[in-house]
């Protein structure tokens, strides 16, 4: 399997996993969207010199992982590039901020190193939370959630089309690539002279294809104003999920659980 095939398969995998039957995939997408937002906002609001506070926030992720039966191995594999970027961005901190604030053995710890750790943890957790949301919701339901907060149907259609367009585009890349290499068997890669015309025809062809896909959707009764309006309404389970998750997130954010447990033992 070549890289493009693999990429297409990965995109399908996201769709596929969102259709798995478990409690999380059945929850109203808007409830999940708001909870994910809440989590990210509270996570990012943590003081940058308090990495230990950040670590508590993983409790929510662990719960979601267990309830949603999500594979952590696949998650890390898929997100490794983004993780790397987040880690690289964090590295700038210790260079800029060199105040020594503590010492572990003989190793001096600067405030920059602490904020770097916090930033990295925050970044990775936020990405994982978003990934968990998408993988338990799916792109289409994500659009339904957007529609519920009254984002215009046309805009949401664009989002959904871009998502579908990625696959059409990748397929087109694959086709042109194969056609080229069949006729230039002795070359490695694409000759720079052919780049211009190749990218040009790639654009025209994939835009044309995307237009056809939209036509096909319309011919089969697709209407952006009604399509995303189908799964409205919170039911009991959505409400329970919402209250429970919000409570968990607020507790792990504002109450220092481990310290509390520690105190209980000390008093005894």
């Amino acid at each position: 399997m070549n890289k493009i095939d693999y990429a297409i398969m990965e995109i399908h995998h996201l769709d596929h996993e969102a259709k798995k039957e478990n409690i999380l995939t059945r929850i109203n997408p808007l409830a999940k969207l708001i909870i994910t937002f809440l989590y990210i906002i509270l996570l990012t609001s943590i003081d940058r010199y308090k990495p230990q506070q950040c670590i508590y926030m993983c409790i929510y992720l662990i719960l979601i992982k267990i309830i949603g039966e999500i594979s952590m191995k696949k998650c890390i594999k898929r997100l490794k590039v983004i993780f790397t970027i987040v880690l690289v961005i964090g590295i700038a901190n210790p260079i800029i901020n060199r105040n020594i604030v503590a010492q572990i053995g003989k190793i001096p710890i600067s405030s920059g190193m602490i904020s770097m750790t916090t930033l990295m943890i925050k970044g990775c957790f936020a990405i994982i939370a978003s990934y968990f949301f998408i993988i338990t919701t799916g792109m289409e339901n994500f659009c339904v959630a957007l529609r519920m907060i009254h984002i215009p149907g046309v805009l949401i259609t664009v989002i959904l089309l871009i998502y579908r367009y990625i696959i059409v585009f990748l397929k087109e890349v694959q086709r042109i690539w194969t056609a080229y290499s069949m006729r230039a068997p002795n070359q490695k890669g694409v000759n720079f002279k052919a780049w211009g015309s190749m990218i040009g025809s790639l654009m025209i062809r994939s835009i044309d294809k995307a237009g056809n896909v939209y036509d096909s959707m319309e011919l089969r009764g697709f209407n952006p104003d009604t399509f995303f309006d189908k799964k409205n309404g919170f039911c009991e389970i959505d409400l329970i999920y919402f209250i429970f998750s919000a409570a968990v997130i607020v507790v792990i954010r504002y109450i220092n659980i481990f310290e509390m447990i520690g105190n209980v033992f000390v008093f005894q």
Partner: protein, 258 residues
């Protein structure tokens, strides 16, 4: 007045003096007039590039002509009542790749049903039955992007049959199909109620399934009439870039040998 109403009622598709050009310069179709009655099966034939697909796209409102009118089911095809018009027309694209976009076969087939307000379970049921009708229920959960050319064709046919529309338009339905699936398609086509328009180079298919045929050449309708008459007229076909259906040729050869 009454007689006129009666005629209007039985007419499924009426094309009046239609001319079309993509670029505003070169006309692809010019002065097309056609009347198709409800329940007819019409073959649309002509050499490559004469405008068969273009005519079909005009009928479903994927393109609009500056001159002339198309009336489907007593409704003019224009941007205002497009949704109404399309509700009753199914259209199988010449290029199946362009038609299918959902991740799996089953989801693609039920896409239209969900759009027209069917419940999830009902849509599942109807989609499955349609797949079964065409004999591809085993592909149900397969990814669209990993289907063969012929399988894609069958799935795109299913996506249209699923709604059971009043009129179905097929653009090259048998391309990529193996002999068995082609035969299966012909059976399905015959069993369908409603009006059917089939554009194809598979003249044997047209010969076997269409009551009436329309031959297009030089931007115009050159001949329109009973299929058996048109498809046995060697001179007419050859003058317009076509040949007799294969079954005719072999039949002629057999009679020469005997």
């Amino acid at each position: 007045m009454k007689a006129e109403e009666c005629v209007m009622e039985s007419s499924m598709l009426k094309i009046i003096d239609l001319s079309f050009s993509y670029d505003g310069k070169r006309e692809v179709l010019s002065g097309i007039n056609l009347d198709i009655k409800a329940g007819e099966c019409i073959g649309l034939i002509g050499a490559n590039g004469v405008g068969k697909s273009t005519l079909l796209k005009l009928i479903v409102g994927l393109e609009f002509a500056k001159k002339g009118k198309i009336i489907v089911n007593n409704m003019e095809v224009n941007s205002k009542n497009l949704r109404e018009v399309r509700k009753n027309i199914g259209y199988v694209f010449q290029d199946s790749d362009a038609q299918l976009f959902m991740p799996t076969v089953h989801e693609d087939v039920k896409f239209a049903l969900l759009n027209y307000g069917y419940g999830k379970d009902e849509a599942d049921q109807i989609a499955y039955e349609t797949l079964k009708k065409i004999g591809i229920e085993n592909l149900k959960d397969q990814s669209i992007y990993h289907l063969s050319g012929g399988q894609k064709k069958l799935v795109s046919i299913a996506t249209v049959l699923v709604l059971n529309p009043d009129m179905i338009i097929f653009d090259e339905p048998t391309v990529c199909l193996d002999p068995k699936n082609r035969r299966k398609f012909m059976e399905v086509l015959r069993s369908l109620g409603g009006t059917k328009i089939v554009a194809s180079h598979d003249l044997d298919l047209i010969y076997d399934t269409c009551d009436r045929s329309v031959l297009i050449a030089d931007q115009r309708i050159v001949k329109e009439g009973i299929t058996q008459k048109i498809l046995t007229d060697r001179e007419l076909l050859e003058n317009n870039g076509l040949e007799l259906p294969l079954s005719m040729i072999s039949r002629n050869k057999m009679s020469v040998i005997m």
